[in-house]
Amino acid sequence: MPEFFELEKVDKRFGDNHVVKSVSFGVRCGEIFSLLGPSGCGKTTILRISGGFEEPDSGKIFLDGKDITDTAPNKRKINTVFQNYALFPHMTVFDNIAFGPRTAGVDEKRVGEMVDEMLSIIRLEGLASRKTDTISGGQKQRIAIARALINKPKLLLLDEPLAALDLKLRQYMLLELDRIHDEVGTTFIYVTHDQGEAMSLSDRIAVMNSGVIEQIGTPAEIYENPRTKFVASFIGDTNFFEGSVASVTNREYCRIDFFGLGEFPSYNEHSLSVGDRVTVSIRPEKFRIFDKKPENENLNMFEAQVIDIVYQGAQTRYWVKSADGRRINIVTQHNRCYLDYKQPTWDDKVWVAWHPDDVTTLPEEAPH
């Protein structure tokens, strides 16, 4: 299936700074596609290249099968929601939203209908005649979205749209964005550095780091099967164990020597062979804590001592120390009432166990 929006080997430098390094990806029609990465990773530059505000040094951009690499921003069927909203300060809410259709020469009666429709989609019907400096941040954000969507773009670009809002409003706007997306069905590209936003909103995420895309996948794929150490550590919490492959059991499993901790059977998704150096990533919630050695022979386990406990209501976070001195971060969900059962406490000797399938092995990375 041809992709709806596609970047092909797009490259961009600012002086000596190689911001985007031959990036290619495709976005499917109607999905919310997130570009997620720390600041300076090139995600905003990719967005600006997509919108036509920056020219790529090389590479091509396709929208709906057409090459738009050399099309000016005002001729692309793409609209942008800018990070700081960029509303026109001298116009009312109505005039802001009406700017696109009026520019396109739509007659005034129809413009009125279109703006009313957008205002009802963003649920701000009462604000049409207000000046933009008299409304709140969340309202400005929704007006910026309406101002872009009224043009019926094939693709909507959102540049950190929630970054300027406080936490509560951000969570509310996240739901609003999802609802608006369901209502209009436009394809969204969403740029953010906040993994929480990306995880809860996106159909697929591209995780970026220093100018390259490290991994593209659904939020669950990214979280459960990170391809690189960067992705594993950037998305969620994890524990890293350096090790090497001691033996290969069969096609699916191998035994990995966790230096100093012992040898453990592990799922071998990369067809590793004996002697390969790996980093093993195990998420905190994949561990289980037992007060005595568990009977289940399928589990990997080692003995440790509890050094810190943080009760968080739905879950408890433990820091335990293994015999060779490493600290491991463990999260347990409270499926039953926390107070009804005996819980591990400070300095307790415990057994930490995990299933061989619940690890991610990351082969030595090829430098890029």
């Binding site: 921003p73 942008t80 960029a86």
Partner: protein
């Protein structure tokens, strides 16, 4: 409470200090008496005499022509200067540009007048209305530039990209976005230029020639010859004009979008 009285006292003192002479002038202009001082009754005769004096009318026309032309020139050039200063503010060339535009505001008028006169003479340009206009445009330029620059520094250039994103071409962006937002700043700069040009005496005195007498120069010469009461009336008319423009300029700069 004490500080409130202090500030009230200071305010009153400053107002009296600045405006008492002007109040005197205005009241004297309505005085029947020829030499002022003693109040001889209310009269408009000095204003009548003023409007019959063709030399005064001439000087007024000259003043307005010079002010208008100098304003147009300095506003156009000054706005361009402000735009470049803002756009390339990090370049070394523009730092030099900044200082060079800033400097004339500190240079004494006498120096400016002499240097302009020297230049015109050495270039064999006949002194007259044209030289006065050029000279005025020169010193107004700095003020226009800095007024517009202040406005530009608050201007969010993202909204130009937003307009582009919404399909607007350069002309539409200029008419619908740039002009409404920068217009007041440019107009305020223009008002400033207009008032500065209108009441300039020193520079005009140096670079003026036959037929280019402006109001300030006329007032100066009337101090020597004409009846002082007419000067009072003239000054009041002149002041009213300047105040109107200055207040309009203030209003435009303060207006917030």
């Amino acid at each position: 409470m004490k500080s409130r009285y202090t500030s009230l006292f200071v305010t009153i003192f400053v107002m009296v200090f600045m405006y008492l002479p002007i109040v005197m002038l205005v009241s004297q202009s309505f005085n029947e008496s020829r030499y002022g001082g003693k109040w001889m009754g209310f009269s408009l005769k000095w204003y009548e005499a003023l409007f019959r004096d063709s030399a005064v009318i001439n000087a007024t026309v000259n003043t307005l022509v010079v002010a208008f032309a100098a304003t147009v020139i300095s506003t156009a050039v000054g706005t361009c200067a402000a735009w470049t200063l803002n756009k390339y503010r990090l370049s070394r060339l523009q730092s030099a540009h900044y200082v060079l535009v800033y400097a004339p505001m500190c240079v004494p008028d006498v120096l400016m007048g002499i240097s302009l006169l020297l230049m015109f003479v050495s270039m064999r340009v006949d002194l007259g209305i044209a030289t006065v206009i050029l000279a005025h445009a020169t010193f107004c330029l700095s003020f226009v530039t800095f007024t517009v620059l202040a406005r530009l520094q608050d201007f969010d250039f993202n909204i130009i990209q937003a307009a582009q994103d919404l399909g607007a071409g350069n002309f539409r962006i200029f008419v619908k976005i740039v002009l409404p937002l920068l217009g007041p700043g440019i107009a305020a700069g223009a008002m400033m230029a207009f008032t500065l040009s209108m009441d300039d005496f020193v520079v005009t005195f140096f670079v003026g020639g036959p037929g280019s007498t402006t109001l300030p120069v006329k007032v100066y010469s009337m101090m020597k010859h004409g009846p002082p009461a007419i000067i009072n009336a003239l000054s009041v008319v002149f002041m009213a004009l300047t105040f109107t423009v200055a207040i309009a300029g203030q209003f435009l700069t303060r207006k917030k979008f």
